[in-house]
């Protein structure tokens, strides 16, 4: 599903250049649930941003679902993001003046799905995350866990190939975190490929594979036995 070869990325900081990713080789199969771990500054978020086409790579190659991702202009990148990827952010990033249902329907709007169908689909995905009754509420009327579930529903609504989550539980308490992880595991059980960036070991243990980044290189890449979040909920 994801194929990365010899990925390099550096940021120019004035006259200095900060080499963040130094030759990453990494691949993800369909249906995997991968945790990318590392301390801050290890390059894990940069990696996720490149995977999410929110940032561009300097060197190396990136293939997503058989499509080489290179030399994308903003329009093309936007179309690919819309088609291939779903995002979940630490700070939820819901549009605050749109209701939960409208937020979930937004990626479908950019896919040019008709209004009626958009609303039906949005309600369906809200149902899946257990927020069907909250469809008409604004984000400000939802709790943190509910917001993140709306964000996950939104990411899933576009039916992406890969779900990318950047510290999805970073702003949540542990009970709520486990609820969100339970939801992510269920989505993964349905066959979706998910990558999670996290620095919390207990969250990483709930994935099926952990990739450790340190100073821009992968130091460890192991498959683990998944701990089900449902036992904590």
């Amino acid at each position: 599903m994801i194929e990365i070869k010899n990925l390099h990325k550096s940021y120019k900081m004035g006259s200095n250049s900060l080499h963040v990713l130094k030759g990453i080789n990494f691949s993800v199969e369909e249906g995997e649930l991968v945790a990318i771990m590392g301390s801050s500054g290890s390059g894990k978020s940069t990696l996720l941003n490149i995977l999410g086409m929110l940032d561009v790579l300097d060197e190396g190659s990136y293939t997503l679902d058989g499509v080489p991702i290179k030399n994308l202009n903003e329009t093309k990148a936007a179309q690919y993001r819309n088609k291939f990827l779903g995002f979940v952010f630490q700070s939820f990033n819901l549009i605050n003046y749109k209701s939960a249902m409208e937020n979930v329907a937004l990626p479908l709007y950019y896919q040019k799905v008709g209004r009626k169908e958009r609303q039906e689909k949005a309600l369906k995905y809200l149902e899946q995350v257990g927020l069907r009754e909250w469809a008409d509420h604004l984000p400000s009327e939802l709790s943190g866990g509910q917001k993140q579930r709306v964000a996950i529903a939104r990411a899933m609504a576009a039916e992406p190939k890969v779900l990318l989550a950047d510290e999805p539980t970073g702003a949540l308490d542990s009970t709520t975190s486990y609820e969100v992880m339970d939801l992510i595991q269920k989505i993964n059980d349905a066959g979706n490929t998910i990558l999670i960036v996290t620095h919390e070991p207990d969250i990483a243990d709930m994935c099926k594979r952990i990739v450790h980044l340190k100073d821009g290189v992968i130091v460890e890449d192991k498959k683990i036995t998944q701990i089900r979040a449902s036992q904590y909920v």
């Binding site: 929110l54 940032d55 700070s91 003046y97 937004l106 209004r115 576009a158």
Partner: protein, 409 residues
């Protein structure tokens, strides 16, 4: 770009961001409103100036006798100068090349009676050409003619309001009215654009007036109309020659400021028109300044709007919004708001101007109006510049990498 879905999305955004909508709408509406009102007032000012002269011919010189202040050629100072019929004849003879007509005017007040109605009116004893000098419009009957002058007929032509006052709804033609003790037959009724006072006048042949006043040949003033083809320079030259002619004939010193007066309507008109034009330019300058201020205002608001939405736009981009759709949604939103509010402001301005009408006449503003094409083009200019001003920050927002926009807290 113009699908129903896009508009729905835009309407929702507008509805749910009322402050933003109000700010940009208000700026544009206010800018256009002030522009329309100011520009209309400028036109009202010009209207007033034109009205000062609109009811009189502009190719005329009024010649009045005065009182000398300087002794000259054996005459003492403080001598009253008087005009008589020979002066009129001399003007007609000596200046025939330059003048269209010359007519005397002798003004007297007096009680005028018809049956039980009576009132005080000014009576002007004039020649037939006076009709052209005052642009008197005949409603019925006729004006005085040469025959009346020759025969010193006891005929009068009365103003519309005189007829109203004395006759009510009755017909006045052929009726006799009592003017300061003598009976005159009404042969015509006139109207005049110069206002109510001009329509409360009574005209009679000047020879009749002279006959009543012990058969003298005195004239109060002479109105001289020059041929329009001699132009402004010709009129000024005629002004000077008439002055010289009367000073010579009446033995008035060339240095005497008050022996004889000539009021040159053409000269006054020209000065007033220049004044009005300068005023209009100043008003137009201020009005265009308002438009520019409006453009700057809407640009600022657009920068603010885009800044405020940076994060939202980042989210939208992460969800698959293309730069084009980001720009078009910002622009459509702003053009929609500016168009609606711009035309509202314009209509309100036009409405204010219309309702003002004559109310500001005391401040020299008569019937302020704005050319509708001018109002609409000003509105369109503001909308266009609002869109251009909005495009720049919108483009910048669309170019920001979503990751940077999302980081923007």
């Amino acid at each position: 770009m113009f699908s129903r879905d896009n508009w729905k999305e835009i309407f929702e955004t507008i509805q749910k961001n009322k402050l933003r909508t109000f700010l940009s709408g208000f700026t544009v509406a206010l800018g256009i409103l002030i522009f329309v009102v100011l520009f209309g007032m400028g036109n009202g000012l010009v209207n007033t100036f034109e009205e000062f002269f609109g009811d009189d011919a502009t190719n005329v010189l009024y010649v009045f006798p005065g009182r000398t202040t300087v002794p000259y050629k054996g005459y003492k100072s403080n001598r009253a100068i008087e005009f008589d019929n020979s002066d009129l004849a001399d003007i007609n003879k000596n200046f025939a090349m330059f003048i269209d007509y010359a007519t005397p005017r002798i003004s007297r007040g007096g009680l005028v009676k018809y049956k039980s109605e009576s009132n005080n009116y000014t009576t002007r004893a004039v020649g037939p050409a006076h009709q052209y000098a005052e642009k008197t419009i005949m409603m019925k009957g006729r004006f005085l003619n040469e025959e009346d002058i020759r025969n010193s007929t006891k005929y009068v032509v009365i103003g519309r309001l005189v007829e109203n006052d004395l006759f009510g709804s009755e017909n006045s033609l052929g009726e006799y009215i009592d003017v300061a003790g003598s009976a005159f037959m009404v042969i015509g009724v006139f109207q005049d654009d110069g206002g109510d006072n001009e329509e409360r006048l009574i005209y009679m042949p000047y020879t009749t007036r002279q006959l009543i006043e012990k058969n003298n040949d005195k004239i109060d003033q002479i109105i001289v109309a020059f041929k329009p083809e001699i132009g402004y320079a010709g009129a000024m030259a005629l002004d000077r020659s008439l002055d010289r002619f009367f000073r010579e004939k009446k033995y008035i010193s060339p240095d005497d400021q008050s022996g004889v007066f000539i009021r040159n309507v053409a000269d006054q008109l020209k000065q007033q028109q220049q004044f009005a034009r300068v005023l209009q330019i100043i008003v137009a300058f201020v009005a265009f300044g308002t438009i520019i201020a409006g453009i700057i205002g809407i640009s600022n608001i657009m920068v603010f709007v885009v800044k405020e939405r940076t994060k939202e736009l980042g989210i939208r981009k992460a969800l698959g919004a293309t730069p084009k759709s980001v720009i078009s949604s910002i622009l459509l939103e702003s053009v929609f708001i500016t168009t609606i509010s711009g035309f509202l402001g314009m209509l309100l301005g036009v409405f204010i101007l219309n309702s003002l009408g004559e109310k500001l006449k005391d401040y020299f503003i008569t019937n302020p109006y704005i050319d509708i094409t001018m109002a609409i083009s000003a509105t369109l200019v503001l909308i266009l510049f609002g869109a251009i001003a909005g495009y720049i920050p919108a483009k910048r927002a669309a170019d920001i990498k979503p990751i940077e926009a999302l980081r923007d807290e």
